[in-house]
Amino acid sequence: MATLANAATTPARRETAWSLAIAGAALVIFLIAAPFVLYPVFIMKALCFALFACAFNLLIGYVGLVSFGHALYFGWAGYLAAHAAKVWGVAPEFAVLIGTVTGMGLGLIAGVVAIRRQGIYFAMITLALAQMMYLVALRVKMTGGEDGIQGVPRGRLFGAFDLGNEMTMYAFVAVVALAAFFLIYRIINSPFGEVLKAIRENEQRAVSLGYKTDDYKLVAFVLSATLAGLAGSVKALVFQLASLTDVHWTMSGEVVLMTLVGGLGTIFGPIVGAFLIVAMENYLAPFGQWVLVIQGAVFVICVLSFRRGIIGELAARLRVRL
């Protein structure tokens, strides 16, 4: 049976790392130039989702675990970060930190419960946990229910930079995102990362080689949740709002869509996928009725004939790593 991650198998050769360097440089240049051409808030939104998708991809593309409840970490981190900034009045860097730690904590709890099972059952557990926490978010006072937490102050970063200024905020988001992408790259290309890939290819074999695969999977899960939490916290500050949309199961579906469209198991795939989907939703906002249909169509087309995603296809054609 072809595994989910087969789409992502390209030979991992050190000598092709130059393609990654080029792509990375292109990304940095794009981020520096873009805010003068495009609307900065749009790019910031896309970056937050790109980070979310990369975090998700860590789990699905490199470990082979499909989580259907990733919105749980994304959304709840956003709630905690928003609450910290608005109600406790902490500085933005601490708000983001608090949100990220929330993602880590929730990831740990969920991971311990879910890792014990594999495949579809793992996916179902993550879905159930996310759905439960959605229902909790609906009821608990702190989250503001349907209203969400609104009017979140952006504050002054390190006491010096006023994040109310759009360009300053943009610089902050871009730096955080690039740092996180680089971190993910380092994780994947470390000995730890190699073990993860081994588990994806054949878990039994990894076990027989003496690796405690459950521990590795849990660490990867927690890392993924933490980064998703980072994405959610930053997003809460960008939009000065944390709402139910971010914990709903359709958000979990969106991140799957972005990663699938961009390319599972590639480094830049989720980034491209996120930008594309956010742009598409932006462009389609006047035609709101068609968003659902188009999203569904993209899912179907991707599964039928485009499983490697955009970057995946590109990487395969050019025979490089992306």
Partner: protein, 295 residues
């Protein structure tokens, strides 16, 4: 009368009976899902949308063709089942060899498309559909007023569930189906047209969803969202019952309806979370589900 934990027994029995009624919907819906997964190893996320199509088909038949509830009960499952056959032929057959999860993503995409199209055309407010004349009214059972339609729902669900279980587990056709899942190549060698059986089975499972939709139309709001509102709960039921087990889906459906009913009495705010809590517990203790066979 007497009290149980502070709740008068009247209210308790009333809620239990209502729980049983809800359970019959859950059972009917999860039956289709269980058939499809059990026989075909396909995770049919489109099930909710197909349920919604069943309800809409009943509404459309009434509005444009004057065809009422009783004929709709027969016609609609066939129509919806036919769309299922088309879906299987066009889409599912192509991804048979891939990981389950692609099937889930594909059917999820199809569900979005169907819901989006209906929403565009019909809007989200919902369409009127009344309880058929012959089933209106109800009787006062002393502890509660039981609408006739709800009593019919329980009875009919039980019959359909039992009939399906019997067909699959106890007839020759059913045994061919079960064999075809376990070892398609061998069954083919016996001259049985396996792809056609797969297609028809999927169509049958989808037809069951359509049937549930017709039954829901008189009492639940007929709107394009009705499928996505219920799909996750139905999945939870199937997972708890054991994804390949027909009897598991039926029993769990009814049982969960009753548990939900009890929760509504003692702890109403948790009534929609309780199913997920149970699902997590079951998956941790018995991952194959209560009645499932370990994969």
């Amino acid at each position: 009368m007497f009290e149980v934990f502070g709740i008068p027994s009247q209210a308790l029995f009333g809620q239990l009976l209502l729980g049983l009624i809800n359970g019959s919907f859950y059972a009917l819906l999860s039956l289709g899902l269980a058939v499809i997964f059990g026989m075909l190893n396909i995770i049919n996320f489109t099930h909710g949308a197909q349920y919604m199509m069943g309800a809409f088909a009943a509404f459309l038949l009434l509005r444009y063709a004057g065809i009422g509830y009783w004929p709709a009960l027969v016609i609609v499952p066939i129509i919806v089942g036919a769309t299922g056959v088309v879906v299987e032929r066009l889409f599912l057959r192509r991804i048979q060899k891939l990981d389950h999860l692609y099937g889930l993503i594909l059917t999820f995409g199809l569900a979005l498309i169907i819901e989006g199209l209906f929403r565009n055309y019909y809007g989200s407010s919902g369409q009127p559909y009344g309880v058929p004349e012959s089933l209106q009214g109800g009787r006062n059972l002393g502890f509660m007023f039981l609408p006739n339609y709800r009593a019919w729902v329980i009875a009919f669900s039980l019959v359909v569930c039992f009939a399906t279980w019997f067909a699959i587990e106890r007839t020759r056709l059913g045994s061919y189906l079960r064999a075809a899942t376990e070892n398609p190549a061998l069954v083919r060698a016996f001259g049985i047209n396996v792809p056609r059986m797969v297609t028809l089975t999927y169509g049958f499972g989808v037809g069951l969803a359509g049937l549930a939709g017709v039954m829901a139309a008189p009492i639940y709001n007929v709107s394009p969202q009705m499928g996505s509102d219920i799909i996750i709960v139905v999945f939870a039921v199937v997972v708890i019952g054991g994804m390949g087990s027909i009897m598991g889906a039926i029993i769990t459906g009814f049982a969960l309806g009753i548990v939900e009913g009890l929760t509504k009495v003692f702890f109403p705010e948790a009534s929609n979370t309780v199913i997920f809590v149970i699902m997590i517990i079951v998956l941790l203790i018995r991952p194959a589900g209560l009645f499932g066979r370990s994969a």
